[in-house]
Symmetry: C2
Amino acid sequence: MGKKAVVLLSGGLDSATSAAIALTGGYELIALSCRYGQRHVKELRAAAAVAKFLGVKEHYEIDVNLSQWGGSALTDESIAIPRTGVQIDIIPITYVPGRNTVFIALALSLAEAKEAEAIYLGINAVDYSGYPDCRPEYLGAYQHLAGLSSKAGIEGKGARLVAPLIEWTKVEIVRKAIDLGVPIDLTWSCYNGGESPCGVCDSCRIRDSALREAGYKTSDN
Amino acid sequence: MGKKAVVLLSGGLDSATSAAIALTGGYELIALSCRYGQRHVKELRAAAAVAKFLGVKEHYEIDVNLSQWGGSALTDESIAIPRTGVQIDIIPITYVPGRNTVFIALALSLAEAKEAEAIYLGINAVDYSGYPDCRPEYLGAYQHLAGLSSKAGIEGKGARLVAPLIEWTKVEIVRKAIDLGVPIDLTWSCYNGGESPCGVCDSCRIRDSALREAGYKTSDN
């Protein structure tokens, strides 16, 4: 049996690229996707398509309904998704309280149960600087906690948290995705779960601009 | 509106006591219980009964099915619950990978969404020394992570993790429970989800012995 890595797969471009990078490291992938009450739940279909494309044999989808207590435009239909452009240096209303902390906790549980060596994350600190749980110091604190929290960690066999994209710009991510043959057209980034991407939410704006700059042509742009 | 605290309520004696302690601090309680695939899912009925008894107005129950990937006798019916007595200095098979890390992450999400000041936990390092995620150093690392992970944390308004029982013996917990009028008979601790407590799993043994030592009489002992 080969060495294993858990990959958090949202269905978006970043996590698909992170998974493709994990594959280049020779890992057998175990994918994990979370149904957390996001309005763009169709990203989970994208996650399944990406996992299939990448040859992932084990893909878990877990319900963890953070929308029960609201607090974000991504999980609360009564809060509008901003459409007017990306604001910098503020925490956006699309921030979901504790989301990455919950997702990484679930990945640690899965990694420990499956004896995986690494957890690959698509988090990125550059374009999403307003999200507190996408920063290197956050990840470092989580790695420290992971070493103390688990049977495997205490035995020195805990999973490493790997966030290969954390310091990259979105254009650098797109270029790496193209380079590795990531199925960009299968990924879904739009915060609105419509028939086609809205083009005006922060996620669409950042993605579309990076795709254009990298010279990538999709049916959307 | 008064100050709020999230309490993780499993349905067991420890978390009920922790909740009662939070009440003495003048908090309005928001309870959180997790359906994680535990075989003793009836503890959730106990959690609801305890919440009602304590006058909790807001009680969330969240599905987060850690049993999907197994790895513990508590979530995997094919692994037997040990019956032969408590072993010390080993991590027991009833340890669930990442469970407390997941539960605390969920509590942090809820606390942030509701602007709660504190999170009360029933974790205890003494009788369950074999569980890595019940130790003070684990909790300290989580508090550090919490300060970095959240919008509230960065703004200096993040919730404090409070584990009042962490250094107590089980007998001390029972004495405090009696003192505060915790409805001990409503709580459920047995790892087996049978009609009545099995009396031979680690959890029953530790509880029953402490109840006897504290002089508490239930229908079970």
